[in-house]
């Protein structure tokens, strides 16, 4: 039994079933990280063979060719050749090909084999989706295939529990020395002509010899594509799917969100009962519980949203939606794939930004990430409803349109239009150098497997909870410190001035105040914006604190609205609304941008351009409305 852990890499084209095979092998024993300095994800898992040997399985990025320029390809080449400093040399490369798509996938297998020929790293070709091939009447002579390619060929059905048993048996018996010996035999028997200039030609020959293919495509796919890609019918179906998606996000999530809020309130009252008022008590209730609760409350929405996105992606529908929407999105310099992430951002920018992983072009992905925070997320709603309720009269226009509703709609459109304008400007700057290209595969439709969905969902949830909550906690602790220190003196308390005014947050607020004054913001608003950085809706409770509205529950909002209506001008309220359309008043979003782009610089770019837009928009809103109202 070899003591050293074997290192195996999984290589394959997109849609070859690589993720399903990887999940089947490694189960929940997976780690996700980034390769140093690039945005390419490094996925690594552990597979334990029947005889108890542990194998490190590296899931390489999906590609059509290892010879192309590009981050994914370069990383893959360096790992296969053992040149990558963060990955130890491989003992085996498993090259996955789809049995129904051999014409496209075998070329990659030939390329890889040639790439590592001098390294003497054994390559096995795994022919996946054998069940689909069978149901379509595709006959593959695996022995002939093995001879033609010149390596071991193993059939699998990665989506079935017992579908990869033959691969498991192979890995169980595998030891680097032994396989080399096995491998060298068939190679000596016949000379494999590897013609590096024409792998395509070679694939055609191999298929002609080893594969009988009754039809090029599956009839189910043909039929479904006729419906889903129909210029009118397809678009109507897409609208219906999107409608159901958002109904689900908001309706299904609500009880869970209420439940989380209830739990956090319960936790708070338990602590209130057990602890006397002290600094620690204040820290636990304000910073830890309320602060985390304000962000964690969005988890149900995020999970449900991701469930739908993953379902659509796994089923093969998402690329179809991208196809339908590409002509609209292309006008703004975006790809069709940007649509779903942007739409998700209306619930919360965090899953939206994470969903941009389905955009394969890096520049398109970056543009989408940058404009995702401009889509009106649900955390803005409490701020919008507070201000609209306080300042916009409940009037009807033309007898049926609510003025308040119209203002809300205008705020949504302000976000959408500015996002599209920003995307257009970015694309105009980029396209001078290179024309945008969009090439993507429309894979076969298939029923998503619960296991794969669950694993992918779990991966996303862990990223959100582990990586993001760490930052959220740190930020909340800092904000709590700024709001709570220095402790107000007896005189301040006696004079009835809110304690926050003499705190660091108050001091900073007063200090920034001259900068914000041209926007019509008073010091109370400026101070409330600081804790409001944790999450947008926190600004509502922060305003409550600043205006010393003590009461809890729904009364807070109403009494706050009355105070605001008396103390602020309409121009100030409109200016603050404009601020909230643009300002990145959500450090969690900036943290996700930093994680997803793997660049502090890019998250700073996002923050500064959004603050700048917010400032300009608020300034314009304040000046124009002051002028009009007089």
């Amino acid at each position: 039994m070899p003591s050293a852990k074997l290192s195996v890499a999984l290589l394959g084209s997109p849609n070859s079933g690589k993720t399903a095979l990887y999940n089947r092998l490694t189960g929940s024993k997976q780690k996700v990280a980034n390769y140093a300095g690039v945005t390419v994800e490094r996925k690594e898992g552990i597979y334990t063979t029947a005889s108890g040997n542990q194998i490190t399985v590296l899931d390489l990025p999906g590609l059509y060719s290892v010879t192309t320029m590009g981050q994914d390809e370069e990383i893959t080449r360096s790992i296969c050749l053992g040149h990558n400093p963060s990955v130890k040399p491989l003992d085996l490369i498993i090259c996955l090909v789809d049995a129904t798509n051999l014409r496209l996938h075998l070329k990659l297998a030939l390329e890889v084999k040639e790439l590592v020929a001098y390294q003497k790293i054994p390559v096995v070709v795994v022919v996946n989706q054998m069940d689909m091939a069978e149901s379509r009447g595709i006959q593959i002579d695996l022995n002939s295939l093995a001879q033609e390619i010149g390596c071991i060929v193993i059939p699998t059905v990665a989506i079935q529990p017992s579908g990869i048993d033959r691969l498991k048996d192979f890995l169980n018996d595998f030891s680097p020395v032994k396989t080399l010996a096995v491998k060298s035999k068939p190679e000596r028997r016949k000379t494999v002509r590897i013609n590096s200039t024409n792998h395509h030609q070679q694939v055609r020959q191999i298929i002609a010899k080893s594969v009988i293919m009754p039809s090029k495509t599956s009839q189910t796919d043909d039929r479904l594509d006729r419906i889903f890609l129909h210029p009118i019918g397809g678009l109507l179906i897409l609208l219906l799917i999107l409608f159901m998606l958002f109904q689900a996000v908001f309706l299904l999530a609500q009880p869970f969100m209420d439940g989380i809020e209830y739990l956090f309130d319960l936790l708070k009252s338990v602590i209130d009962l057990t602890m006397g008022p002290s600094l620690l008590h204040s820290f636990i209730t304000e910073a830890v519980i309320s602060g985390s609760g304000a962000v964690l409350v969005f988890i149900p929405q995020i999970i449900i949203l991701f469930f739908f996105i993953l379902f659509l992606e796994e089923s093969g529908y998402l690329p179809r939606a991208a196809f339908l929407l590409d002509s609209i999105m292309a006008r703004f310099g975006l790809s069709g794939r940007a649509f779903i992430p942007l739409l998700s951002s209306f619930a919360c920018a965090i899953p939206g930004i994470m969903a941009t992983r389905t955009i394969h072009d890096y520049r398109d992905r970056l543009t989408t990430i940058m404009i995702a925070p401009l889509m009106t997320c649900s955390a803005r709603l409490p701020v919008y409803t507070l201000l609209i309720g306080a300042f916009i009269p409940e009037r009807h226009i033309l007898g049926f349109m609510s003025l308040q509703g119209l203002v809300m709609l205008a705020l949504y459109f302000a976000g959408i239009i500015s996002g599209l304008v920003v995307a257009k400007i970015v694309s105009l700057r980029q396209n001078r150098k290179m024309d945008s290209s969009l090439i993507f595969e429309l894979p076969s439709y298939r029923m998503p497997k619960a296991r794969n969905l669950a694993l992918a969902l779990w991966e996303r949830a862990v990223i959100f909870i582990k990586r993001i909550s760490g930052i959220i906690f740190a930020v909340n602790a800092l904000l709590w410190f700024l709001v709570s220190f220095p402790r107000p003196s007896e005189q301040v308390l006696a004079s009835g001035v809110p304690a926050i005014q003499s705190s660091f947050a108050g001091i900073i607020g007063n200090w920034i105040q001259p900068i914000m004054a041209p926007l019509g913001f008073n010091w109370q608003i400026t101070v409330a914006l600081i804790p409001g950085l944790a999450a947008r809706e926190v600004a509502v409770s922060a305003l409550g604190t600043v205006y010393a509205v003590g009461a809890k529950g729904s009364d807070t909002v109403e009494s706050l609205q009355q105070i605001l209506a008396k103390q602020w001008s309409l121009a100030t309220a409109l200016s603050l609304l404009a601020w909230y359309v643009f300002a990145p008043q959500c450090l969690a979003t900036l943290a996700v941008i930093r994680r997803e782009t793997n660049s502090r610089f890019l998250s700073l770019v996002a923050a500064s351009y959004l603050f700048l837009l917010a400032y300009l928009a608020s300034y314009a809103t304040f000046k124009i409305s002051s002028h009009l109202i007089g």
Binding site: S65, R103, L104, A208, S327, S437, I439, E441
Partner: protein, 92 residues
């Protein structure tokens, strides 16, 4: 596979974006825009090489937008700009 038929068709070369939907055609070449052309390299990677049968399956909305092409056993969405680089000859 349909290789032998291609000689019988008196086909004029045209570009992929201008062929009739669902009519079989053969790829003649992919034009490079410059020396290290990533896009044409990628098109060749996914199978747009000389002699490969290709069919246009669908066009995007409003006649514009992307095209859906069947190359080999796979369907790929392409934009017009990419399709214009692919020289094909019709087999019908």
């Amino acid at each position: 596979m349909n290789h032998s038929n291609s000689s019988t068709a008196a086909a004029a070369a045209t570009t992929l974006d201008s062929i009739v939907l669902n009519q079989p055609a053969l790829v003649v070449a992919v034009n490079d825009n410059d020396i290290d052309d990533m896009v044409s390299k990628r098109l060749r990677d996914i199978g747009f090489v000389e002699g490969e049968p290709v069919t246009l399956i669908a066009r995007g909305l409003f006649g514009g937008g992307p095209l859906l092409a069947q190359i080999g056993y796979t369907r790929f969405a392409l934009r017009r700009a990419e399709a214009k680089r692919i020289i094909v000859k019709s087999l019908s």
